[in-house]
C-alpha cells in the first residue's frame, strides 16, 4: 500500500481531468451537475480511503522507519541539479494528508448542495479536485521543488476559485490579488530553494534513492551550513537565517501573515466551501507546514522574527475581526489570527503544537465556514450580519454546529480549539524565561484569544440571536447534503482535541520521528485562566450584541461600540489600513512608473535614441547632399584638396 501513495494525488487529478474534459460537455444541466459532483466526491473520497490505509500502514512500521518515499520519475535533472518527482509519507505528511483529503471530502459533499444550480458547476468541481491534488503534492512532495509545485498549484486553484464568479469585478480583482500577493512570497521561496541547493547541493528533504543512486537530503545535513555566514562587510548573517527568513516571507504570503495577509479577507469573494477548504482548513496552513517541515534550518534569530510575525498577526487580525459586518470576513480575519497563533507556536519551537492547532483549526474553521455558508445559503446570499438575526430558530442544525465551532474557536473546554490553543499559550507562559520576547508574546496571544472569544460571541449574537432585521428573505435550513458534513465536522471538533490531550499526547509521539519534541507540559493554571478569560469575553461579546445593544443594530447602521471607539473602530474595520496603505502607495506608484515607461521613457527615451541615430544619418546625408552643389569649381576645389592632402601625406612619408 505504501508504494501506492502516488494514487492519493492521482485520484483527484483524474477527477479533475474527467470534470474538465468530459463533464463540461454533457448537455443536460442536471446530469452534468450530478456527474460533476459525484466524480469529484468519488475521486477525493477514494483518495481519502487510500490515504487512510496508507496512514494505518505507516503507523504499523517501527517509529524510525516511518518515512516512505516513492520516486516516480526524475523530474528535473541538468548539470548537478537532480530533482526527482517523488512522493513521501512520513508522520507529518500523513496527518496533513488526512486533513486535506478528509476535510476535503466533506467539503466536496457539502459543495454538491451549496453549488446546486450553478451554471459552471463542472468547472467548480474540477478546480476543487485540482486543488486537492496540488495540496497533496505540497504535503507529500519529497523535495522542496515538488512542494513548490504544489504550493503554486494551490495558489492557482485559489485564484481560480476566488475568481470563480469572475463576472463580479471584485471577485476577479480578489483572485488576481491573491495570486500576486502569494507570488511575492513564492519568489522568496524560490530564492530560498536556490540558496538551499547552492549550500546543500540538493533539494530533497531526506536521503532519496533514485535508480540506485543515493541523493542526500538537506534536512539531515543542516550541519553543513552551521556557522556559514554571508553578508556585506561589517554585517554578516548566518546563511541559515537568510534562508529561513526567505522561507518566512513565503509563509507570510501563503499563510496570510503580516505584512502580506491582505489578500485573504478579499479571497472571501469565492464560494463559501472554497473559503472553508482553501482559505481556512488547508491551503493557508501550508506555511505552517513548511516551517514545520524545514524547521531544522531555522535559526534562533529567524525564530524570534517568526514568533513576532505570528503574534502580531494574531492580534491585528483579531482586532480586525471584531469590527467586521460580513459574516465571512469575520471568519477570514479570524483565520488570519489563528494562523498567527500557529506561526507564533512554530516560532517558539513547538512545532507539534503548531501542527496540532493546524489540525484542530482545520476542522473547526471548516465547520464555521461551512456553517456560514449554510447561513448564506439559507438567507439567499446574505452576508451582512446586520441583515441577519434570530436565525437560531430557522436553522437549528446550522446553529448548533456553528455554536460548537465558535466555542471551539473561542477556546472553551473541552472542545478541540481549547486544547490546541492552550498548548501554545501554556508553552509561552512556561518558557517565558527562554528569551526576552516570549512574555510579551504570551500576553499578546492571550489578548488575541480573548478577542477571538469576543468576536465569536458577537457573531453568534448577531447571526443567531435577536430578531431577523431584514425581511427580504425567508430563512430556511439547508439541505441534508450540507448539514451532514456540518454534523460530522462538529463531531470531529468535539473529538479532535483527543489527538494530543495532555495525558496521552498521541500527536507528539506520532510526530516524534519528525519533530523530536518532548510532550508539552500542561499548566492547569494557564488553562483555567485562559478558559475563564475566553468564556468571559465570549459572554461579553454575546451579551453586548444579543442583549445590551440588541435593538441598536440596524441594517446599514454603525456598530454600537463605534460610539465609544470612533476612529479606532474604523481602523479595526480596515484592518489597520494595511491594504489601504498598499493601495495608496505601492500600487499607484507601480502603475505610474509603468505608465511613464510605456508612454515616455520607452518611446521617447530608448526608442528616441534609436530613431535619433536614424535621423542623424538622415540629416548627415542631407548635409552631404548639399556638398554636391553642381558648381564645377567646387568639385575642382575638392579634387584639389585631395591632391594637396595626398601630396602632404607623401611628403611626410618621404
Amino acid at each position: 500500500m505504501l508504494d501506492l501513495i502516488w494514487l492519493i494525488p492521482l485520484l483527484p487529478f483524474i477527477g479533475f481531468l474527467i470534470n474538465t474534459l468530459y463533464t463540461g460537455r454533457i448537455a443536460d444541466v442536471h446530469t452534468r451537475e450530478r456527474t460533476a459532483g459525484y466524480v469529484a466526491v468519488g475521486a477525493v473520497g477514494a483518495a481519502f480511503i487510500v490515504a487512510l490505509l496508507a496512514f494505518v500502514q505507516l503507523g504499523q512500521l517501527p517509529e524510525e522507519a516511518r518515512l516512505h518515499q516513492v520516486v516516480l520519475w526524475t523530474w528535473l535533472a541538468t548539470g548537478s541539479l537532480n530533482v526527482p518527482f517523488g512522493l513521501m509519507l512520513d508522520p507529518l505528511a500523513g496527518v496533513m494528508m488526512l486533513l486535506v483529503t478528509g476535510v476535503g471530502t466533506l467539503i466536496h459533499i457539502y459543495s454538491i448542495g451549496y453549488m446546486h444550480g450553478d451554471k459552471r458547476v463542472a468547472r467548480y468541481f474540477a478546480y476543487l479536485n485540482l486543488f486537492i491534488t496540488m495540496m497533496l503534492l505540497l504535503v507529500m512532495g519529497n523535495n522542496l521543488l515538488l512542494l513548490f509545485l504544489g504550493w503554486e498549484g494551490v495558489g492557482l486553484c485559489s485564484f481560480l476559485l476566488i475568481g470563480y464568479w469572475y463576472e463580479k469585478r471584485s471577485a476577479s480583482g480578489a483572485a488576481v490579488k491573491a495570486f500576486v500577493v502569494n507570488r511575492i512570497g513564492d519568489a522568496a521561496i524560490l530564492l530560498a530553494m536556490m540558496a538551499i541547493f547552492f549550500y546543500f547541493g540538493t533539494l530533497n528533504f531526506f536521503t532519496t534513492t533514485v535508480n540506485g543512486i543515493e541523493y542526500p537530503g538537506f534536512i539531515e545535513e543542516t550541519s553543513r551550513i552551521a556557522g556559514v555566514t554571508v553578508g556585506i562587510p561589517g554585517q554578516t548573517f548566518l546563511i541559515g537565517t537568510i534562508i529561513s527568513l526567505l522561507l518566512l516571507i513565503g509563509v507570510t504570503g501563503k499563510s496570510a501573515q503580516l505584512p502580506l495577509f491582505v489578500w485573504l479577507p478579499d479571497a472571501m469573494a469565492g464560494p463559501t466551501p472554497v473559503s472553508a477548504l482553501i482559505h481556512a482548513a488547508t491551503m493557508v496552513t501550508a506555511g505552517v507546514y513548511l516551517i514545520a517541515r524545514t524547521h531544522a534550518i531555522f535559526t534562533p534569530t529567524t525564530l524570534a522574527i517568526v514568533t513576532w510575525v505570528g503574534a502580531l498577526t494574531a492580534i491585528i487580525a483579531a482586532t480586525a475581526a471584531i469590527a467586521q459586518w460580513d459574516i465571512k470576513r469575520v471568519l477570514a480575519y479570524s483565520t488570519v489570527s489563528q494562523l498567527g497563533f500557529m506561526v507564533a507556536a512554530a516560532g517558539m519551537g513547538i512545532y507539534v503544537a503548531a501542527i496540532f492547532h493546524l489540525l484542530t483549526h482545520g476542522v473547526f474553521k471548516a465547520l464555521l465556514f461551512l456553517g456560514s455558508g449554510s447561513v448564506i445559503h439559507g438567507t439567499h446570499e446574505t452576508q451582512d450580519m446586520r441583515r441577519m438575526g434570530g436565525l437560531r430558530e430557522h436553522m437549528p442544525t446550522t446553529f448548533w454546529t456553528y455554536l460548537i465551532g465558535a466555542l471551539s474557536l473561542a477556546g472553551i473546554v473541552p472542545l478541540a480549539g481549547f486544547w490546541s490553543k492552550d498548548e501554545i499559550i501554556a508553552h509561552a507562559w512556561k518558557h517565558q524565561g527562554d528569551a526576552g520576547y516570549i512574555l510579551p508574546v504570551f500576553f499578546i496571544l492571550v489578548l488575541s484569544s480573548a478577542m477571538t472569544a469576543f468576536y465569536m460571541g458577537r457573531q453568534m449574537a448577531l447571526v443567531f440571536w435577536g430578531k431577523q432585521r431584514d425581511h427580504h428573505y425567508h430563512p430556511h435550513e439547508s439541505p441534508s447534503v450540507m448539514t451532514i458534513p456540518l454534523v460530522i465536522l462538529a463531531g470531529l471538533t468535539v473529538l479532535a482535541g483527543a489527538l494530543n490531550l495532555p495525558g496521552s499526547h498521541w500527536l507528539t509521539d506520532w510526530l516524534h520521528p519528525v519533530m523530536r519534541e518532548e510532550a508539552a507540559q500542561f499548566s492547569i493554571g494557564v488553562a483555567v485562566f485562559a478558559t475563564l478569560l475566553a468564556a468571559g469575553s465570549g459572554y461579553l461579546g454575546w451579551w453586548l450584541y444579543a442583549v445590551k445593544f440588541a435593538n441598536k443594530i440596524t441594517v446599514d447602521g454603525k456598530d454600537p461600540l463605534y460610539h465609544w471607539t470612533g476612529d479606532i473602530w474604523d481602523s479595526m474595520a480596515a484592518a489597520w489600513y494595511f491594504d489601504a496603505l498598499y493601495n495608496s502607495t505601492i500600487v499607484p506608484a507601480y502603475r505610474r512608473v509603468a505608465g511613464f515607461f510605456a508612454a515616455v521613457f520607452d518611446p521617447q527615451g530608448i526608442d528616441g535614441i534609436v530613431n535619433g541615430v536614424g535621423r542623424l544619418f538622415g540629416r548627415a546625408s542631407n548635409g552631404a547632399r548639399t556638398l554636391q552643389n553642381g558648381f564645377v569649381r567646387t568639385y575642382a576645389l575638392a579634387f584639389f584638396l585631395g591632391v594637396v592632402v595626398i601630396i602632404g601625406y607623401l611628403i611626410t612619408a618621404l
Binding site: W75, L76, A77, T78, G79, L81, L145, R183, M193, F198
Partner: protein, 509 residues
Amino acid sequence: MFPYLSLILWLPALGALALLATPREQHQTARSIALAVSLLTFVISLALPLRFNAADPSMQFVEQVAWIPQWGISYHLGLDGLSLWLVVLTTFLIPIALFATWNSIHAQVRYFQILMLLLETAMIGVFIALDTILFYLFWEFTLIPMAFMIGIWGSGNRIYAARKFFLYTFAGSVLMLMGIIGLSFLHRDATGAELTSFSLTQIMGDIRTGAFALEFGMEQLLFGLFFIAFAIKVPMWPFHTWLPDAHVQAPTAGSVILAGVLLKLGTYGLIRFNLSLFPNASEWAAPAIGILAVIGIIYGAWIAFAQTDMKKLVAYSSVSHMGFIVLGIFALNEIGITGAVLQMVNHGLSTGALFLIVGYIYERRHTREMSEFGGLWTVMPIYGGLALVMVLSSVGLPGLNGFIGEFAIMQGAFISPALGWGYVAVSVIGVVLAAVYLLRMYRETFMGEVNKPENAELKDLSGGEIGMMVALLVPIVVIGLFPTLFFAPMQASISEVAQAFRSVVAEGQ
C-alpha cells in the same frame, strides 16, 4: 549517412519553388501545399531527436561539401544538443503558423506561403550551419521574408515597423560579419594555415585545444561585435524597441514565428559564438550582461503592465522572458545554459501560443484593445480555458514548461560566481511581475461581465484552432512534467561549452 539535415533544410525551399508553379488565384491550393510541405518537414525532423546520440557532445548528422575552397568556405551542416530542440521547435511552429493564416491572410496568399517556407529554410539553416559564412547568409536571409511579412500583411504602421526591424537588426549583423571575417583571419594567422577557414567546428576546436589563442583585447573586441548583433536580435534591453513595433504590426503568423524562433537566433548565437569562441571575454562581460538581462526582465515586465494592446503586452513580455534566457546563458554553467536553451523552446511555445490567442480574438473583433473585451470566458469557454493555461505557462507556473526553464536559469545564475545571488534576487521580482501583467490581461479580457454587445455573440474556437492550441499544449505540459526528456540530449554538448568556464566556475559546493 542519410542527409537528414539537408533534407530538412531544403525541403521548405523546394516547397516554395513548387508554390511558384501554382496558379496565383488558387489560394486553397497554395495553403495546402505549404502546410503539407511544412508538416512533412516536421515529421522528418522528428527523426533528429530519435536518432540523436545524447552521449556524443560533438556535431552529429554532419554534412560537409567544399563550397569556396579558396577561402575555406564550405557547405557544412551539423546538429548538436544545443541546436537539436531549436530545429524541432522551428519545424513544429511553422505548420502551426501556416495553419493560423488559413483564415486570416487573404491577400497574395501564395506569396505569403512562399515567404514562410523560405523563412523556415533560413531559420533552420541558422541553427545547423557550421560554417560561419553559411551561418551569416542564413542569418541575414531570415530578415527578408520577415520584413516582407510585416511590410505587406501587417497592420497600420507596418512599413515603419518593417523598415525598423530590418535596419536595426541588419545594423547589428554587419558588425557580426566583421567579427566573422576577423575571426577567420586571426585564426589563419594564429595556426599558420595557408587558407582561411570559416569552419566553426575547426575554429572552436582550435580554441578549445589552445591551438588558437586570442589576445584578450582582441577577444573582447570580437566578443563585442558578435554580442551586439545577437543582443539586438534577442532583443536585450536597451535594444528592444524594434520588437513591440514589429510584433504589433506583424500578422499573427509572423508574430508567432518572430517570437517563437527569430528571437532565439540571438540567444542561440550567444551560446554558439560568444560563449564557445570567447570564453575569457564571456567571463569578463558576464556581470555586465547579467545586469542588462536583469534590467530587461524587470523593465519588460513593468512596461508590459501599462499596455492596453494585448499584442504589445505579449511583445513586452518577450523582452522580459528573453532577459531570463540571457541571464541563464551568462550564468556560464550547465544548469543555467541548459535552462536557457529549454527556456528558448518554452518561450517559443508559450509566447507563440499567446500570440495565437491574441490573433484569434483579433480575427473575430478586429481589435486588440483590452478595454474592448471582458467576460470572454463566458462567451468562449474553451478559448478562455486554453488561454488561461497558456498565460500560466508564460507566468511560470510549476508543472508547466515555463517554470522549469526559469528555475534552472535562476538556479544556474545563483550558483554562478560570474553572477550570483544578487542577480537572482532581482530577477525573481520579474517572476512576480509576470503574474501581475499577464493576470491583469486575463482579468480584463476574460473575466468580468460581457459588457459589449459585439462580444456576446463571439464564436468559440473552431476545431482547427483548438487543434493548434492542443498541439502547443502537449509539449507545454510534457516539458513541465518530464523536462529531463529535453534536458538529456543537450547535456553533453552544453557541458562541453561550460567546460571552458569550469576551471573558474564551481558548481555548488
